[in-house]
């Protein structure tokens, strides 16, 4: 009887408070709050954009071709119009969906695969680890343009294949980083301590090594998001990118490239959207990094009263 009460009560208590506490801690970091708000907008745009503005954003109107940012043509044109006279603001909203799907899945895919392989390679210093590393070597030295062409020829172009190409080419960075970190972390005494307690390999990796390694990988991943968005745009010139009338922010940047001298805004705003997204993710990741690290968490907690 006593056991029942004493175990269930605290668990509930900590759970409730931890959510509130997280929000509380989030509020302490105003940059992270801004980042979360921006990401919410992006996610909403990705979810709703195509339904709300799908038509409007694709309507070609050569009268407003390359219109400069202003209110002259209505609110949709505040950021200007692209080379086909389409409102850039609305296109940013609509393009968010493809962009996010593409970038997030490519990054997550490569991160999961790369990290998993990296853990194996770092943890098992045997032939398997060696094989994984040599595969990474091969991936790193395989020209990505050629890979893209091959996929284009062997498979049909489409968003799934873009994701595939991007994911494959980005695997090595996670793999090698994860491995390097694992090599170091697994020598730490607390890992050894868990090992001799009888912890399974899985547990060692998941409970002890992963939390120490993840922050670096997440930092890289948030920056990779931007990189992948841009890489996609350079694939589109091969025809491997996403095909019009579908588009992404990366494709918008690429299309604006030829107007840099005359209509800078065509490439500028989607570039800004990409940068801001990456930046928000990174700020959020930095926040998570602080919160999830007990040694660092005070940086957020201690902010409320200002001492000294």
């Amino acid at each position: 009887m006593e056991n029942v009460t004493s175990t269930t009560v605290p668990v509930r208590k900590t759970e409730r408070t931890s959510l509130r506490q997280s929000l509380d801690l989030l509020w302490r970091d105003k940059f992270a709050v801004a980042a979360v708000l921006f990401l919410i907008i992006v996610v909403l745009a990705a979810l709703l954009g195509p339904y709300l503005f799908g038509q409007q954003s694709n309507r070609i109107n050569l009268l407003t071709r390359n219109a400069a940012p202003s209110f002259a043509h209505g609110w949709a044109f505040v950021l200007g119009a692209d080379a086909l006279g389409r409102p850039i603001l609305l296109r940013l909203f609509v393009g968010a969906q493809n962009t996010i799907i593409l970038a997030v899945s490519a990054v997550i895919l490569s991160m999961i695969v790369g990290t998993a392989l990296g853990f194996v390679a770092g943890y098992r210093n045997d032939w398997l680890g060696n094989v994984i590393l040599r595969v990474a070597d091969v991936l790193m030295s395989f020209p990505s343009l050629l890979l893209a062409l091959i996929v284009l020829y062997v498979l049909t172009p489409g968003i799934a294949n873009v994701i595939l190409v991007l994911a494959i080419t980005r695997v090595p960075i996670y793999l090698r980083t994860a491995r390097a970190e694992v090599l170091e972390v697994r020598e730490r005494t607390f890992v050894t301590a868990a090992d001799i307690m009888g912890a399974s390999t899985w547990r060692l990796v998941w409970r002890h090594i992963r939390p120490a390694v993840m922050p670096t990988l997440v930092t890289i991943a948030t920056l990779e998001i931007a990189f992948v968005m841009l890489a996609e745009s350079s694939l589109s010139f091969l025809g491997l990118g996403i095909q019009a009338p579908q588009f992404t922010w990366g494709a918008m940047v690429a299309q604006g490239q030829s107007y840099l001298g005359t209509a800078w805004w065509v490439a500028f705003w989607p570039g800004v959207a990409i940068t801001l997204t990456a930046m928000s993710l990174n700020l959020l990741a930095n926040w998570v990094r602080l919160v999830s690290d007990p040694v660092q968490r005070w940086r957020l907690e201690a902010k409320e009263p200002s001492h000294d």
Partner: protein, 483 residues
């Protein structure tokens, strides 16, 4: 040394081959070599494509199969070899050397072989198996190379009779032409020309703006904003969307009409494309012999187009079937925008056209025979074609005759007309081709004819140069002068 007489020309892509017999069909070789390093026997007047003497002083057809050429005196090759009928024979024979795989050969001789017979030192006969009424035009495309040029491999050091010698060529960086002291004709002003290549149009324009280059080829229309330095010219390229008529709904003439009527060609001019582009009614420019001046550009009539589509639908044509249009974006500036607008115009009249961007190889493979016997989807392909040789023959036989390598039409009546045109001369020839063009546009409608395209060149303040439609294929340094 004195650099004030040297110029730099910046080009969009590398001169990766300098073999004169690839001049017509590959990259920018012609632009560099033609009439600068290697000269032809005959040259064309840019205004009306009439043949003019160059290395040949005169020529005449002495029987249906034989042309007699009289060569210019006192001409020397740059390597010291003397220019005479034997040299010309060697140069022409070289085109047929099997190991050379001359890429222009097909285009120039359509499977024929020529026999060259020197009559005396400066006279020679060129004999063909079938009549070649266009011999002077053909000869205007052939660069006469020194007899010492190897015939077993592509030349890396072309030597001709022109006013410039190729002094250095590094395919990854630059190519330099220097004035040839022993040139037979008038000395041009330019001492030395350095060709470099940058793929980015804006960068090419900037290089002239800051004085790193004097002439920038192919700058983007949107960067051509300074009327003092930037010149547009019709570049002989004509663009169209070819319709493969083997499948429903594209095998229905109403649908093909609708495809044409749906495009508001006028709205592209001065917007996505530059001001100087001309909506086209046929696949050649007006200075080509055989052009039909009576043909009108398709009007824009979206309502009529929609009606036609509906009519076809009512008649059981599967107009909703997805149609693929292949495009590739190396073909012209702002091609993406052009494609997107086309696609949307067609979608608005109720046709389900989709864009598929492919790379060069795929595009090229789609365009020529053998065609697939059953395509997965109804297909169209965007293509451009330039006819700088002056006669409709070079376009019509290839694209519209049932035997043409790029033709997907098999219309006996049209074939007849084209055959008649290609074997006759003068008015009869012109009439036949004009009639064929009429038939193509009115009855067959195998394509959505689009525009005669414009290119832009930026010329720096030191020099003057006036581009014309031949500028795509040659840039005579002799035409460049210092201000």
């Amino acid at each position: 040394q004195d650099k004030s007489k040297d110029i730099t020309i910046v080009m969009p892509s590398a001169v990766d081959v300098v073999e004169p017999c690839h001049m017509m069909s590959t990259g920018y070789i012609g632009l560099v070599l033609r009439q600068n390093v290697v000269e032809s026997l005959i040259k064309l007047d840019p205004k009306d494509s009439t043949p003019q003497p160059l290395l040949a002083e005169s020529w005449k057809q002495i029987d249906p199969l034989t042309w007699r050429i009289n060569l210019r005196k006192n001409v020397k090759f740059q390597d010291g070899a003397s220019f005479n009928s034997a040299g010309v024979k060697a140069a022409i024979d070289r085109l047929f050397a099997p190991a050379l795989l001359c890429r222009d050969k097909d285009r120039l001789f359509a499977g024929q072989t020529l026999e060259v017979k020197p009559v005396d030192d400066l006279t020679l006969d060129i004999i063909s198996k079938q009549p070649m009424p266009l011999m002077p035009l053909t000869l205007s495309q052939i660069g006469i190379t020194s007899p010492n040029t190897p015939t077993t491999e592509a030349s890396k050091h072309p030597v001709g009779t022109g006013p410039y010698v190729l002094t250095s060529w590094n395919p990854t960086q630059s190519l330099v032409l220097k004035q040839f002291d022993g040139y037979w004709g008038k000395k041009p002003q330019i001492q030395q020309a350095t060709y470099v290549w940058r793929s980015e149009p804006a960068l090419r324009a900037s290089m002239v703006a800051v004085g790193e280059a004097d002439i920038a080829m192919q700058i983007a229309p949107q960067d051509a904003v300074n009327p003092d330095t930037d010149f547009g010219y019709l570049n002989a390229d004509t663009s169209r969307v070819r319709i493969f008529m083997d499948q429903a709904p594209l095998n229905d003439v109403r649908v093909r009409k609708a495809l044409n009527l749906a495009i508001d060609r006028g709205s592209f001019v001065g917007t996505i494309l530059s001001k100087g582009v001309l909506p086209a009614s046929q696949y050649m420019m007006s200075n080509i012999n055989g052009y039909n001046p009576d043909l009108k550009v398709w009007p824009y009539d979206a309502e009529e187009a929609t009606r036609l589509v509906e009519e076809a639908r009512a008649a059981g044509v599967p107009v909703d079937k997805p149609i693929v249009m292949y495009g590739s974006d190396f073909m012209l500036a702002n091609s993406n925008e052009l494609f997107e607008t086309l696609i949307q115009s067609w979608q608005q009249i109720g046709l389900n056209v989709k864009l598929e961007m492919v790379d060069k190889i795929q595009l090229s493979a789609t365009r020529h025979k053998p065609f697939p016997t059953n395509r997965p989807t109804p297909t169209m392909v965007f293509e451009t074609h330039d006819n700088a040789a002056g006669d409709a023959f070079y376009t019509m036989m290839v694209y519209y005759h049932s035997s043409g390598d790029l033709s997907n039409i098999a219309d006996p009546a049209l074939d007849k007309l084209l055959e008649k045109g290609s074997t006759s001369t003068g008015d009869e020839r012109r009439k036949a081709f004009q009639e064929a063009n009429l038939k193509i546009q009115q009855d067959i409608i195998p394509d959505v004819m689009l525009f005669h395209l414009e290119s832009f060149i930026r010329v720096g303040p030191r020099v003057s140069y006036a581009p014309d439609f031949t500028t795509q294929g040659k840039l005579e340094l002799a035409d460049v002068t210092f201000k």
